[in-house]
């Protein structure tokens, strides 16, 4: 499964578990408007580390704060490959 699909699937899963409603997932979606809150994203990043084997936010020396879902996916795509 692609990195993008894995992220989308995990987002749906976390949203379901946290009782949140996700906005339609597309690249220009602003993360803050996605429906997941800080805790939701923290859980998502921890889960993605398990499934993708990388936490690009902690692994990188540079601070990365993606604003959109497209940016977020790119951070992982760059981290995995």
């Amino acid at each position: 499964m692609s990195v993008r699909l894995t992220i989308f699937e995990q987002m749906e899963e976390v949203a379901r578990e946290h009782g949140k409603i996700l906005a339609p997932l597309k690249d220009d979606l602003v993360l803050a408007d996605s429906g997941l809150d800080s805790l939701g994203f923290a859980v998502l990043v921890a889960r993605l580390e398990d499934t993708l084997g990388v936490d690009p936010f902690t692994a990188s020396d540079e601070a990365v704060f993606p604003l959109t879902l497209g940016d977020f996916v790119k951070v992982y795509e760059n981290g995995v490959h």
Binding site: L31, L39, A46, R47, D50, L67
Partner: protein, 464 residues
């Protein structure tokens, strides 16, 4: 400290600039209005000399009540917004509370049988009588992060404002903002900085969205803005952060790591960015303004600005005139050691010429400012019939600082079946969701063959 503070908070507001206001999303109150007016429906006199609980729903009314009660009430106990109502009877008994200040919103929720109930509102009326005779007011704050009834920590205005006087924060042109609630120690410092500096303060309202709060901060031209690293990480993910341009950015309440400091530097290249170390018990110990995580090793071992620090068994200990004086209650434990040092329980590690915070001695996991006791979560996981034992530990998170994850040992002959692992994991998560608040639910669960047990017979916990 029995001496009367030089000025009560109300006296600090005398001759405040016309432009200085407290703002929230529903009201604004001019500092000058409070000089000769009251927010307490004309009943300030009824609170004179009493032990008063400030239990308002809004930060704005709490701010107004604190200004009026300082120098008037014998004792002020500040109720944080997340206080457990079940703890109120114990708190009221311990602090001998005999009066309460409520506002229109909290009156619906706080049912207290106290001799005096006064409503605080942002509509200021003329203070008819002269303020009651000045008394030395005890300020009582509640600790966070303990299970059971919070500890009640006694300060006075002199100690609470010592770090501010030392830094001479007076700056009439400043506009302060805080993401940190002013009813907690870190937020109260910002409230006091605004009052002593006679500078406006933009407060958030209960339930207000971050983007709305940011928009108001931008509209009021915030110059000095404070929050925990988690608050800032949350704000850094909002495009609206570009709408504000503070000159001073402050972090406190959690460990400020290098990525969050760097990210703030990138967004606010010209701001003075500082992180402060303070706790409800130990008071403000120091500010670090060089943009680097941790603090210079030279801070330890000698007095700086009246603050002495030492490291004992890895934990930071602090002695200064800014520490709290004691806990409330006859049976309360001593707050400081015999030599006056307060043990913070914060574990530090020296790396080169700098100390870094590595976690809490007690092993409490701090998820974005919310505390998780690992044992509490383990107890829930261990209720699953197939679970032998479990360990909940912190995992660093770029978003909330830390998050709880669990390692689970299944009962023998259940290990190694992938399909069953998924099923058990889902059942454990369901169990957690049924009994725990969201921040305490493990973000990830892994299955391990065994867990180390220390010589004490307790689960070996790696320091977070």
């Amino acid at each position: 400290m029995a001496s009367i503070d030089a000025h009560s908070l109300r006296e600090h507001l005398a001759n405040a600039p016309q432009a200085a206001f407290f703002f929230d999303n529903a009201a604004d109150v001019a500092f000058t209005a409070l000089d000769r007016g009251t927010s307490l429906s004309g009943r300030l006199g009824a609170l004179a000399g009493r032990s008063v609980l400030v239990a308002t729903a809004s930060q704005l009314t709490a701010a107004l009540a604190l200004i009026e009660l300082d120098g008037c009430a014998r004792r002020i106990t500040i109720l944080p917004p997340d206080a457990d109502p079940d703890h109120l009877p114990a708190l009221i008994a311990a602090a001998e509370i005999d009066a309460v200040v409520l506002d229109d919103d909290s009156i619906k929720h706080v049912a207290l049988d106290l001799p005096v109930r006064v409503i605080c509102a942002p509509s200021i009326v003329t203070l008819e009588q002269t303020p009651p005779a000045r008394v030395h007011t005890e300020w009582v704050m509640l600790t966070s992060g303990t299970t059971g009834v919070p500890k009640m920590v006694v300060h006075d205005l002199g100690g609470l404002t010592a770090a501010i006087v030392a830094k001479s924060a007076a700056d009439g042109a400043a506009v302060w903002g805080t993401f940190y609630d002013i009813r907690r120690y870190g937020g109260l410092q910002i409230f006091l900085r605004a009052v002593l500096g006679r500078a406006s303060l933009v407060l958030s309202s209960a339930g207000e969205a971050v983007t709305d709060h940011l928009a108001r901060l931008a509209r009021h031209g915030v110059t000095h803005l404070s929050g925990t690293p988690s608050h800032w990480r949350r704000v850094l993910m909002r495009p609206a952060i570009r709408s504000i341009a503070p000159r001073y950015v402050r972090l406190s309440g959690e460990i400020a790591d290098q990525p969050v400091l760097d990210a703030l530097r990138a967004v606010f290249p010209h701001a003075n960015i500082g992180h402060a170390y303070a706790s409800t018990e130990a008071g403000v110990a120091f500010d670090v303004n060089d943009g680097l995580a941790g603090f210079p090793a030279a801070f330890v071992g000698r007095a700086r600005d009246g603050v002495e620090m030492r490291v004992v068994d890895g934990a930071l200990q602090i002695r200064s005139g800014r520490t709290a004086s004691r806990y409330v209650g006859p049976a309360a434990p001593a707050l400081a050691g015999d030599d006056g040092f307060v043990d913070t329980g914060d574990i530090v590690e020296r790396r080169g010429e700098r100390y870094h915070f590595v976690g809490r001695r007690g092993g409490i996991i701090n998820v974005g400012g919310l505390k998780v006791h690992p044992e509490e979560v383990e107890a829930v996981i261990n209720r699953h019939p197939l679970v032998r034992m479990s360990l909940v530990r912190p995992k660093s998170s770029p978003i909330t600082g830390a998050i709880a994850v669990a390692e689970v040992v299944l009962k023998s002959d259940r290990n190694g079946h992938e399909a069953q692992h998924i099923e058990v994991r889902d059942e454990i998560l369901k169990l957690c969701r049924e009994t725990l608040p969201r921040h305490k639910i493990p973000a990830a669960i892994s299955f391990v063959p065994g867990l180390a047990v220390a010589a004490t017979g307790k689960l070996a916990r790696r320091q977070g």
